[in-house]
Symmetry: C2
Subunit: 214 residues, 2 copies
Amino acid sequence: MAARETGDAVADVRRDQMLAAAATLIAERGFSDTRIADVAERVGASPALVIYYFGTKDSLLTEALRWSERSFYTATEEMLRTTTKLRDRLQILVEWTLVPDKQTALTGDWGLWFDLWAQAFRHPEVKKDRAELDAQWRDLIMRVIQAGVDAGEIEPLDVETFAIMWGSLLDGLVVQVALDDPVVNVDRARAIVLGVAHKELGLVAPRRRVARKS
Amino acid sequence: MAARETGDAVADVRRDQMLAAAATLIAERGFSDTRIADVAERVGASPALVIYYFGTKDSLLTEALRWSERSFYTATEEMLRTTTKLRDRLQILVEWTLVPDKQTALTGDWGLWFDLWAQAFRHPEVKKDRAELDAQWRDLIMRVIQAGVDAGEIEPLDVETFAIMWGSLLDGLVVQVALDDPVVNVDRARAIVLGVAHKELGLVAPRRRVARKS
DNA sequence: GGATCCTGACTGACTGTTCAGTCTATGGCG
DNA sequence: CGCCATAGACTGAACAGTCAGTCAGGATCC
C-alpha cells in the first residue's frame, strides 16, 4: 500500500515537474523552440523519460499550456476571497493580470498566452480548452459584478456583456504591455481598464485616502 | 534602362509573391511550421531561390509578417477615405478588423496576429516593428476621433487614451472571435466595441435611416 | 560576355522517438 | 526470513526523418 502510494506519488511529482519546466520553457523560448531535451535537462532526467510520461512532445507541451492557465485561474480565484468590496476586487483582478513582469514564476507568464492563442487557433483541442478556461475567467468577473449588484454597490446591468467587454479589454491591454509598447506601460493600462470599469458600472471615482496631486 | 527596370520588376514581383505566400502559409500553419520549401512551391520556384532572395528563413518570415501588417493598415486607411462621418468611420474600422472570416485573402488573417505577437514577445526587432505598426494604427484612430471633435460631432476628450483603450478592446475581441469563442461571435463583438465607443465618446444612439423595429 | 536569375543535388545538423535492457523495490511464497 | 518474479521507473545509444542552407553551374536577358 505504502509502496503503491510512493510509486504513484513519484510519478505525479515527476509529471508536475515536467509540466512546470515545460511551461517555463515555453514562456521563454516559445512553443516550437522548446525541445524535450531541454525539459528533460531541467528536471534532471533523460529525454526518453519525458516521452515515457507524455508519449509525445506535442502532448507534453499542450498539457503544459493547460496546466499553466489553470493554475493561473485558480490562483486568482483564491486571491479574490481576501475581500468583498467591488472596487477592491476589480483592482485585484487587474493587479493579478497586469503583473509588472515575469517575476510571477509559473503563474501567468505572458509569453504563454501568445503561444496558447497561436496553438488554439490551429488545433481544435487546444481551442476547446482555451474557450473553457476563458469562460471560467469571464464567469469569475460576472460573479464579482453580480455580487456588487446584489450588495447594492452598483445598479443592475448586463453582467455577461460587461464581462466579455472588460475581459477582452484586459486581454488587449496585456498584449500591449507584454510587448513593451512604449506608449502603454503598466500604470497606464491599469488606469485605463479601471477607468472603463468604473465608468461602465457607474462607480464613483475612488476617493484616495491620500490625494496629494492637484 | 528598360532592362534594369525589367530586372528590378521581376525581382520585386518575385519578392512580393514570396512574401504573400509566406504570409498565407504562416496564417495557416503558424510561423514555425512554415517551411521554405512550401513557400517556394507556392510561387513555383526552388527553395534555393527563396534563400537567394531572403538569405535566411527567419528573414523571410519576419518580413512577411511586417508586409502583411503593413498592407492591412494601408488598406484600412484607404477605406477610411470613403466617408467623413465619425460614426461611419468607426464602423469601418470595426468592420475591417472584425471581418467575418478568412475570406480576406492576404489582408488580416488573424492567425498572423498571434504569430506576430508571439514572435514580437521574444525578438526585439519584431517587437520594435510591431510597436511601430500599432502606433500607426492608434494614430489612425486618433485622427478619426480628432476629426469628429473638430467637426463638432463630439465633445473634446483625451484622444490618445481613448485610442489605446479602444484599440486594445478591439484586439481583445478579435482574439475571442478568432478563437471561435462560443459566447463571443462577430455580431456581439461588433455591438460591444461600437457600444463602448459611442458611450465613451458621448455619441447618441445611431438613428437608423430605416428604423422599423419598435 | 557579364550580370542577374535560377536550379538540382547535396549535406550537415538537429531532434523526436524507439528499443533493449538496467536498476530498484515490492510483495508473494516456501 | 530469504529468495525470486514482477512491475515500474529510468537510461544510453541508435535510428530515421526533416530541413535550412551551400555550391557549382545552367539559363536568360541586355
